[in-house]
């Protein structure tokens, strides 16, 4: 069941292909590797030139410095909880909206699609000022709500799921489900969600990462060190006069591990989309 059986038969072609894949993999992943190296370098040697390219032995010192400087586990929990809740909510609401846009015919569909797309084109940079004003008026300042609720059914996710469900859910299957007496909501839950796994995988990865890395939002909405997220807590370690960035680098690496785990989990969904896609074949 390979896509191109005849192309990959020749060993020569294959090795050329792997050669390039490996070169590019190196280019793309080197800074990531370097990040891990820096976490093991003594804190004042981060800027050293020539740069340290291999692991050193200060990881434990750096982790200890990190744990002394910030309430790491508290911040980690805050970040993880906000990102997880956001991701679950976004997957639910955006798949629902995207499914509606791609698989139903209804009055105003085109206008709604264009409207949703247009809201994405508004540069978001300055909206933080009126948004912050609103959050204070709502008494949401200092809670997680501003970081979760407004983005739950966002234009990006709906647009994306509309495009992904276009081809992955066959119309015939929906009709069959209706004949079987399923309600529209049951169809959403039992047909649309399972068949959208590839798209959901991508949406989950992107939402989780963006929520985790939402620096300015968390900085502005969350009042102090114990309430804030990991990236914000780490940022205060950046300007130390004594030049010791060990804690910062250790924290940076620890902050990225959950993102890798999330990628691996959702990546499985993307690929397992294959079997789901074959339903229509």
């Amino acid at each position: 069941m390979s896509l191109q059986p005849n192309r990959l038969t020749s060993v020569g072609k294959k090795s050329v292909m792997y050669f390039f894949l490996v070169i590019f993999a190196f280019i793309f992943s080197f800074p990531f590797y370097y990040m891990f190296v820096l976490a093991t370098v003594p804190g004042t040697k981060i800027f050293s030139y020539p740069p340290h390219l291999f692991f050193k032995d200060s990881l434990w010192t750096n982790v200890k410095a990190l744990l002394d400087d910030i309430p790491f586990f508290v911040n980690f929990f805050n970040s993880a909880a906000i990102a997880t809740i956001s991701t679950v909510a976004v997957i639910f609401f955006c798949t629902m909206g995207g499914f509606a846009l791609s698989k139903y015919d209804f009055k105003g569909k085109k206008a709604i699609f264009i409207f949703i797309l247009s809201t994405m084109a508004i540069p978001p940079f300055l909206n933080i000022v009126p948004f912050f004003k609103m959050m204070v008026a709502f008494h949401w300042y200092g809670t997680w709500l501003p970081l979760i609720v407004p983005g739950m059914a966002n234009a990006f996710g709906i647009f994306m799921m509309a495009q992904f469900t276009k081809d992955s859910i066959p119309a015939a299957l929906l009709d069959a489900a209706r004949i079987d007496g399923l309600t529209e909501f049951q169809i959403l839950m039992k047909v649309a969600f399972p068949l959208s796994r590839a798209g959901i995988g991508v949406l989950g990865i992107i939402t989780f990462i963006n929520s985790w890395n939402n620096f300015l939002g968390a900085l502005i909405m969350l009042p102090n060190t114990d309430k804030t997220t990991l990236p914000v807590a780490l940022s205060k370690l950046f300007m130390q006069m004594d030049g010791d960035r060990g804690g910062l680098m250790a924290g940076t690496v620890l902050a990225v591990l959950p993102l890798m785990v999330v990628f691996i989990i959702f990546n499985k969904q993307i690929i397992s989309g294959l079997t789901a896609g074959s339903v229509k074949g």
Partner: protein, 433 residues
Amino acid sequence: MRKKVISILTMFALSFSIFATGQQGESDPVPAFDPEKEYSLSFGGYGDLERAYKTIFESAEFKKALPNITFEYQMADFGGHHDRLTTVLAAGEATNDIEALEIGFIAKFVEGGGLTNLAAAPFNGIEEGKDIVPFAMSNATTAEGRLVAYPVDIAPAVLFYRKSLADAAGVSLDNLKSWDEYIEAGKKLTIDKDGDGVIDQFAMPHASEVAMMPLNGGKGGWFDEDNNPLQPKQKFMDSLDLVKKIREAGIDGDLGAWSGPWIQAFADGTVASIVNGAWWGGALKAWVASDLAGDWRVAPLPGGLYASQGGTYLSIPQQVPLENKAAAWEVIKYLTTTSHAQLSTFEQIDAYPALTTVYDDDIMNEDVPYFGGQKIRQLYADVANNIPSAKVSEYDAVVLAIFNNAVTDVLVNGSSSEDAYNKALNEIRAIVD
């Protein structure tokens, strides 16, 4: 008709403020501070400030003076902190009772709004701050005499150099009468040590680092009394000419600030000197060139120039609850006008005191072994006392950005100083409104 549209829009615009509850004006009376009462204050700042101030707030001296105040901190990196503060103030809100500000960010608040006027009663900040170094006070004061923030630390600019390299080249950098003298000495400091045909020792890391020295360190002074930008012209031409001369003399290493090679250059002998703020001495000693103890020296800037390279201010946002304002002011006063707090901050994070009375303290007269036993802190004090007061304006940030581009025009594009100056002037004229 037009008027009507405008008034409707203005109404709409002003209605945004109804979102905020209990907006307070300038004139609302601040209740007196009650030492018996319990206050809980929040502090917003960046980098090392939490460490420095926490130490003070937990000290016995502070607890004796202000026993009933507890603190929370909202900290971030430098850029993040100022973006947050700008957002909060632009929204007409306040989230912390005390907010730190770097000098470069003050200008935009100087024109009014956002921050409490500390010159007014009951703060009487000008009176209370009579021992604070004058240029720092004037940098936070508007044309109408509003004082929007209070100086807590400063960074007098000096010339750091390596004694052994200067001796080897047979030059002295201690009392340079002019930048030309510096450049002449610099030529002798710029050499090919290992004889491989490539220069490997430079007088300074990057020519652009001196651009702000004739210009008060770039902190204010961009407009003259009649609000004309970049006047008097000669002052700004001097800056561009100086940068150009240094580059043409070939004595700078063209090293980008804070890159790995730039930092390494201070430890491995690639550069012999640098112009920087007083705090740089702490960085050299602590980690940049900790192995070179006894070799680095400090000298005043060439040609009798005095400049500031940054500094921290403390402010109270306008929308802070009135009760907290009273307590916040007590804390700010403690941090800025007691020798305990000023010296403690200096020891903790090398932030040089803004309070002139501590310059006579024993600590400030100590020999500093890292700098070969020099009394560097007295030298800093001398610079601090002589930095001229400069007028700040709301356009300082944009003018600084434009002028920095003029500096790169001279350095990178080889523009003449005249052309770069005129281009910058035209850009500034087009952009001010």
